[in-house]
C-alpha cells in the first residue's frame, strides 16, 4: 500500500520541486548560518582552551608601580591563591633602523632559563635565551613577521633612557596576547606594536628592579575560581601601598576579552540569525502544504475512501515536507561547514594561536539537521490538520468556488474605480488570501531587517571609528611617559619641529568605590576648552570637562551604581594614595574603555599635584620633512614609553572593518536575498498553480505575456515593499539590540544607521523582486496555457 503512496510522493516532489527547492534554500541558509557561526566559535574555543591550558595562562594580572619580591612571596599566604609569578613589564620605544616612525613595544621579563612558568611563551623560531649573553630578546612572532625580524638580528631599543642593542634569539607567541593591541587601541597593528621578551636578570639590571617587580600574575585555586574578584580585591588591598594601577581577572584582559567577545557574538548570532530564516521557511512551507492539501482534496478523499488511514496520509504529507527539511538541512550543513572554515580562516589573521583548526562537529551537524526537520514538521501541521478534517465524501466533491465579495477598500468608490482592473484584482486577491499575503509580507520584513542590520553593522562601526578619531580624539599622536613629567615637558614638545598644537593629559590610575561596588579604572585630566580631546555626551555631542567634578561613562556609572550628582570614592595609584570623594557631574558616551574625564588643573590640584603630565597629545604638520624631523626628536626624548599614531590606528581599524564587517555584511545581504527569492518564487509559483486557467484566459483574450507577468510583478512588488517598510524599523531595533549586546567594558558601539541605508534597502528589495520576475517570466513562457485553459479549478 505504501509503495503506491511513495510513487505519488515522488510525483508530487517532481511537480513541486522548484517550490521545495526554494524552501530548502532558505532552510539551508538558516542552518548554514547556525553551523558556520557555531563551529567557528567552537573552533576558537577549542583552540583557546588548549592554548590557555598548555601555556598555563594566569587567572589574574596586577600592574603596580614597584613592589619587592619578598612582599610578593608573602602573598602566597592568601587563601585561594595557588601560584604566583612576578614580572618586570615596560612599554618601550624601539629604534629600528631605516624606520622613520617611532615604534613601541611591550617588554616582558622571562626567566633566564626556560621553565614551565605561568604565561609561558611558545617558541616559534630560533631558541630560548642562551647563557652568557645578557641583552637577548625573543620577539613576538607577528611583529617579527611584519617587520621581517629574524633570529640573529639586532633591535636597538631605548630602555630606561639608554639605547641598548638587543640580539634576537627567537620568535614566540603567548596565550596572554592572542589578540595584541597597543595601549588605547582596539585593533592589532602587527608592525607598529610588538612584544619583546627579555631575560629577568637583564630587566633587573636595566630598569633597576633588583629584587622587585611591577607586574604580578597568578593562578587561583579551583575552589575560588567563581569568586575570583574577591581574591583579586584582597590582593590589591594588600599591595595598595605599592601603587596598584590595574587589577584584572583573566576575562578582563583585553586579549581574552576580545576573544571571548568574538566567540560570544558568534554564538549569539548563531542562535538568533537562523531564527529569521527558519521562521520564514516554516511559514512558506505552511502555505505550500495548506495549498497542496486543498489542491489534492479529491485525491485525499479517494484515498480515504479506499481505506487509507489518517496515519498513513499524515506520514505521506509529512514526508513531502520533510524532503524540503532534510534537503535544506543537508545543504545547510555543507554550506555551514564551508562558511565556518572561511570564518575561522579569517580569524587566523587576527588571533594568534599555535593552531586554529576547523574541526568537524558531528553533534552540531546532527542538531542542525534536527532543527531543520523540526521546523519543516511544524510547517506541515496546518496542512495535515486540513487533510484530517476532510471527510471522504466531502473531499471527493469539488471544492466550493472561490469566494467572491467586495473588500473594505471598495467603499472608497472613486479611488477604487480609478486604480484599474489589474490593481482591483491584486488587492482583492491580497485580502482573500490573507494568510499567504501575510507570509509574503513577513518574509520581506525578515529579509529587509537582515539587510538593514548588515548595513547597520558597517555604519555603526564606521560611526564608532568616526566618533573616536574625528570627534573625541583630534590629535595626530599621543606621547606617553614612563613617569609623570612636569609642565616643562609640554614646552619641550611644543618646540619640536612641525608641532602645531600640544595639550597635556594627566592620567591617573585609580580605584573607584561606591558603597559595595568597586572597580579599577582611570581618570584622564584634560584641559578645559582644549581642542584635541573632546568627550561626547550620550547623544554624541561634544562637551567640555567641568571646572570641577567628573565626566563618567554611562557604563561605568551603571557598574558602580552611581547617579549624576553622587560623589564617589577615588583612590589614586600615585602619590600618597589617599582616597578622595569626587562628584560625578555628567554621563558621557565612551567608545573605548570606561572613560572618566576631569579638568586637568582641577584633577592635579585635588590630588595634591602641581601640573603633572603623563601624556601629551599633539597635532603636527603633515609635511614629510617636518614629520621626519619630529620623529627623530621624539625618539630621543627621555622617559618616552610609547607613541601612538592615531591616523595609523584609524587606518588599521578601517582595514579590519573592511575585512570582517563588510565580509559579514555582504554574506548577510546574500542570505537575505535567498529569503526574498525563496519567498517570491514560492508565492508566485503557488499563485500560478492556482491561477493557471485565469492566466491562460487572459492570454487567449489577447493580453501579452508581459501584461500577465506584470500582475505577478505588481503583487510581489507590493507585498515586498510593504514588508520592507515594516522591516526597516525592525532592522533598526535589531541593530540597537545587537550593538548593546556586542558592547563591552573595553569598547562600545553606537547603533548608527545611515539614512541612505534605508533607501539602499528599498532599492535592494526592488532589485530582488525584479530579478525574481525574470524567473517568473521564464516560468510563464514555458507554461502550456492552451492546456491550462480547460483545467478545472
Amino acid at each position: 500500500m505504501m509503495s503506491v503512496l511513495n510513487q505519488k510522493l515522488k510525483q508530487d516532489i517532481r511537480q513541486k520541486w522548484s517550490m521545495l527547492l526554494a524552501v530548502s534554500a532558505i532552510i539551508a541558509v538558516g542552518i548554514g548560518c547556525f553551523i558556520a557561526m557555531m563551529s567557528a566559535a567552537w573552533n576558537l574555543e577549542q583552540a583557546k582552551n588548549t592554548y590557555y591550558a598548555s601555556t598555563r595562562l594566569a587567572d589574574f594580572r596586577l600592574d603596580l608601580k614597584k613592589v619587592p619580591i619578598q612582599e610578593v612571596k608573602r602573598l602566597t599566604s592568601i587563601s585561594g591563591l595557588s601560584e604566583i609569578r612576578e614580572r618586570i613589564l615596560f612599554n618601550v620605544v624601539l629604534d629600528i633602523p631605516k624606520t622613520e616612525k617611532v615604534i613601541s613595544a611591550m617588554l616582558i621579563s622571562m626567566p633566564d632559563k626556560a621553565a614551565p612558568v605561568l604565561n609561558n611563551i611558545t617558541i616559534r623560531s630560533g631558541t630560548y635565551f642562551t647563557p652568557g649573553r645578557a641583552a637577548e630578546v625573543i620577539v613576538g612572532e607577528k611583529f617579527a613577521k611584519a617587520r621581517n625580524i629574524k633570529p640573529g638580528d639586532i633591535i636597538p631599543a631605548i630602555l630606561n633612557n639608554q639605547r641598548k642593542e638587543l640580539v634576537v634569539v627567537g620568535t614566540a607567541i603567548s596565550s596572554e596576547f592572542v589578540y595584541l593591541t597597543s595601549p588605547g587601541s582596539l585593533i592589532d597593528e602587527p608592525g607598529n606594536y610588538g612584544l619583546l621578551y627579555i631575560k629577568r636578570s637583564f630587566a633587573e639590571d636595566t630598569f633597576g628592579f633588583h629584587g622587585a617587580c611591577n607586574n604580578i600574575i597568578g593562578l587561583l585555586s579551583p575552589e575560588v575560581e567563581h569568586h575570583a574578584e574577591k581574591v583579586i580585591n584582597q590582593l590589591s588591598q594588600r599591595l595598595k601601598p605599592y601603587g596598584v594601577f590595574t587589577s584584572l581577572s583573566r576575562s578582563e584582559l583585553f586579549s581574552s576579552l576580545a576573544l571571548d567577545n568574538e566567540m560570544n557574538s558568534l554564538k549569539k548570532m548563531a542562535v538568533t540569525l537562523p531564527v529569521f530564516f527558519l521562521l520564514v521557511a516554516m511559514l512558506i512551507l505552511n502555505v505550500l502544504m495548506v495549498r497542496l492539501a486543498e489542491q489534492q482534496r479529491t485525491v485525499i478523499g479517494t484515498l480515504k475512501a479506499l481505506g487509507y488511514s489518517n496515519k498513513i496520509l499524515i506520514i505521506h504529507f509529512m514526508k513531502f515536507a520533510l524532503s524540503a527539511g532534510m534537503a535544506g538541512g543537508v545543504l545547510g550543513i555543507i554550506l555551514g561547514y564551508w562558511l565556518g572554515v572561511s570564518i575561522t580562516n579569517m580569524y587566523v589573521i587576527y588571533f594568534t594561536f599555535p593552531a586554529l583548526i576547523s574541526d568537524i562537529y558531528p553533534g552540531l551537524f546532527s542538531f542542525g539537521l534536527l532543527i531543520s526537520i523540526l521546523f519543516s514538521v511544524i510547517g506541515t501541521l496546518k496542512g495535515i490538520h486540513q487533510v484530517l478534517q476532510l471527510s471522504p465524501a466531502e473531499s471527493m466533491r469539488q471544492a466550493p468556488p472561490a469566494k467572491g465579495g467586495a473588500i473594505l477598500l471598495e467603499q472608497f468608490h472613486g479611488l477604487w474605480k480609478r486604480i484599474g482592473i489589474q490593481w482591483q484584482m491584486i488587492l482583492r486577491g491580497f485580502f482573500r488570501n490573507r494568510g499567504k499575503t501575510a507570509v509574503s509580507v513577513l518574509s520581506a520584513t525578515m529579509g529587509s531587517a537582515i539587510v538593514v542590520l548588515a548595513f547597520g553593522f558597517v555604519s555603526s562601526i564606521g560611526e564608532m571609528v568616526d566618533l573616536q578619531f574625528n570627534q573625541v580624539l583630534k590629535s595626530d599622536y599621543h606621547l606617553t611617559f614612563h613617569n609623570e613629567m612636569d609642565f616643562s615637558a609640554l614646552d619641550e614638545i611644543r618646540r619640536l619641529p612641525g608641532v602645531f598644537k600640544a595639550e597635556p593629559v594627566f592620567n591617573v590610575s585609580a580605584l573607584f568605590r561606591m558603597k559595595n561596588h568597586q572597580k579599577h579604572g582611570g581618570i584622564s585630566g584634560i584641559i578645559r576648552n582644549g581642542k584635541l580631546t573632546q568627550p561626547i555626551d550620550e547623544q554624541g555631542n561634544s562637551i567640555q570637562v567641568p571646572e570641577s567634578g567628573l565626566l563618567m561613562s554611562r557604563r561605568l556609572m551603571e557598574k558602580l551604581d552611581i547617579s549624576i550628582g553622587d560623589s564617589i570614592e577615588v583612590t589614586p595609584a600615585i602619590g600618597e594614595r589617599k582616597p578622595v570623594k569626587l562628584p560625578v557631574i555628567q554621563a558621557i558616551s565612551s567608545l573605548m574603555g570606561l572613560m572618566v574625564y576631569a579638568d586637568y588643573t582641577w584633577l592635579n590640584r585635588i590630588l595634591g599635584h602641581e601640573k603633572l603630565i603623563s601624556e601629551i597629545r599633539v597635532i603636527t604638520s603633515h609635511n614629510e620633512k617636518q614629520k621626519q624631523a619630529f620623529m627623530k626628536q621624539v625618539r630621543k626624548m627621555p622617559g618616552l614609553a610609547s607613541l601612538t599614531d592615531l591616523a595609523e590606528q584609524k587606518k588599521a581599524m578601517n582595514r579590519q572593518m573592511d575585512n570582517t564587517m563588510r565580509y559579514m555584511a555582504v554574506i548577510m545581504i546574500i542570505f537575505a536575498a535567498v529569503i526574498f527569492f525563496g519567498a517570491i518564487l514560492n508565492g508566485t509559483l503557488i499563485s500560478l498553480s492556482e491561477r493557471r486557467r485565469e492566466t491562460a484566459t487572459f492570454r487567449s483574450m489577447g493580453y501579452f505575456e508581459h501584461e500577465v507577468a506584470g500582475r505577478f510583478l505588481r503583487e510581489n512588488m507590493t507585498t515586498n515593499l510593504i514588508g520592507t517598510l515594516i522591516g526597516l524599523p525592525l532592522g533598526h531595533w535589531l541593530l540597537v539590540i545587537s550593538m548593546q549586546e556586542f558592547s563591552t567594558d573595553a569598547y562600545s558601539f553606537p547603533a548608527k544607521l545611515a539614512p541612505m541605508s534605508l533607501l539602499y534597502t528599498l532599492i535592494l528589495t526592488i532589485i530582488f523582486v525584479l530579478l525574481s520576475q525574470l524567473v517568473v517570466r521564464r516560468i510563464l513562457m514555458n507554461e502550456n496555457w492552451v492546456k491550462a485553459m480547460s483545467l478545472k479549478e
Binding site: P401, A402, I421, Q424, T697, F698, M701, G702, Y703, M789
Partner: protein, 240 residues
C-alpha cells in the same frame, strides 16, 4: 443570418496537421483539415470526444499553431505571425467563450467584461455588453454569486464586448442544464443575427446542427463532411 452562399471567406484553413508529442507517444490530432469559415455565418463543428474539435478551435483562435498547413484570416497568413502579432490578432478579432466560463473570480461581472474593453481597439461599454446578454442588473456580482448559466452569460458579454470579428465557443452549454443552455444558444443566435458576428461553436449535440448555417463533422482529425442549412431553425423551435 448571412447565407453561406455569399462565400466571403473570413478564415481559410488549408491542410492543417497538428501532432502532440507526449513522452514517447506521438498523437496526430488533426490530420489534414481543409475548411473555410465565411464571414457572418454560424458554423457548428460537430464531433465525438477526442476527434480534434478543441484543437481545431484553438488553432482557429490563434492560441495554438498547426504542425503543418496554413491558416489565413481575412487573407492574411497567421501561421507566420510572431507571438506579439498573434496576441494582437486575438485581442482585436477573436472572442472566446469557454465551456467552464473562465471568469476571473476576483472580479465582478462588470469588471470581467472590462478585462476585454480595457485592451480592445473599439470596445462597447461594459454595461452595453451586459445589457446585450441581460446581465446588467448583476453587474456588481462576483462569479461565485452567479449561477453557471449566468456566469456563461457574463463570459459571452466579455467576448462580445470587444466587437470581435469571430466568436469561438467551445461547448458553451457543456456544463449547463437545459434551460440555461437554451438561453445561451438563443443568445448566440441573436448575436449572430443582430451583429453579423461570425460564430463558430463546438458541440457534440447533433440536434443543434439545425440552428447553424453549416455543420462540419469532424472524425479522427479530418473533416468528414459538411452539411449546409439554408434555413437555420430558431433555437426555441429545436426539438432539443
Amino acid at each position: 443570418m448571412k447565407s453561406s452562399k455569399n462565400k466571403e471567406i473570413l478564415i481559410n484553413l488549408d491542410t492543417i496537421y497538428r501532432t502532440f508529442h507526449t513522452d514517447e507517444v506521438e498523437v496526430n490530432v488533426l490530420q489534414g483539415i481543409d475548411l473555410q469559415i465565411y464571414n457572418g455565418e454560424f458554423l457548428i463543428i460537430f464531433g465525438e470526444s477526442g476527434s480534434g474539435k478543441t484543437t481545431l478551435m484553438n488553432i482557429i483562435g490563434g492560441i495554438d499553431q498547426p504542425t503543418r498547413g496554413s491558416i489565413s484570416f481575412e487573407g492574411k497568413d497567421i501561421v507566420t505571425l510572431s507571438d506579439h502579432e498573434l496576441t494582437l490578432h486575438r485581442r482585436d478579432n477573436i472572442g472566446f467563450v469557454f465551456q467552464l466560463y473562465n471568469l476571473i473570480p476576483t472580479l465582478t461581472a462588470y469588471e470581467n467584461v472590462e478585462t476585454t474593453t480595457e485592451i480592445a481597439f473599439d470596445p462597447m461599454d461594459p454595461i452595453e455588453a451586459l445589457q446585450l446578454v441581460g446581465m446588467e442588473k448583476r453587474a456588481n456580482y462576483f462569479p461565485s454569486q452567479l449561477s453557471g448559466g449566468q456566469q456563461q452569460l457574463v463570459a459571452m458579454a466579455r467576448a462580445i464586448a470587444k466587437r470581435p470579428k469571430i466568436m469561438l465557443c467551445d461547448e458553451p452549454t457543456g456544463a449547463l442544464d437545459h434551460d440555461n443552455s437554451l438561453k445561451i444558444l438563443e443568445l448566440l443566435q441573436k448575436i449572430n443575427n443582430a451583429t453579423g458576428t461570425t460564430i463558430v461553436m463546438i458541440t457534440h449535440a447533433g440536434t443543434l446542427a439545425a440552428m447553424a448555417n453549416r455543420t462540419a463533422y469532424i472524425v479522427d482529425g479530418v473533416i468528414d463532411h459538411i452539411v449546409t442549412n439554408d434555413k437555420p431553425t430558431p433555437v426555441r423551435k429545436l426539438n432539443w
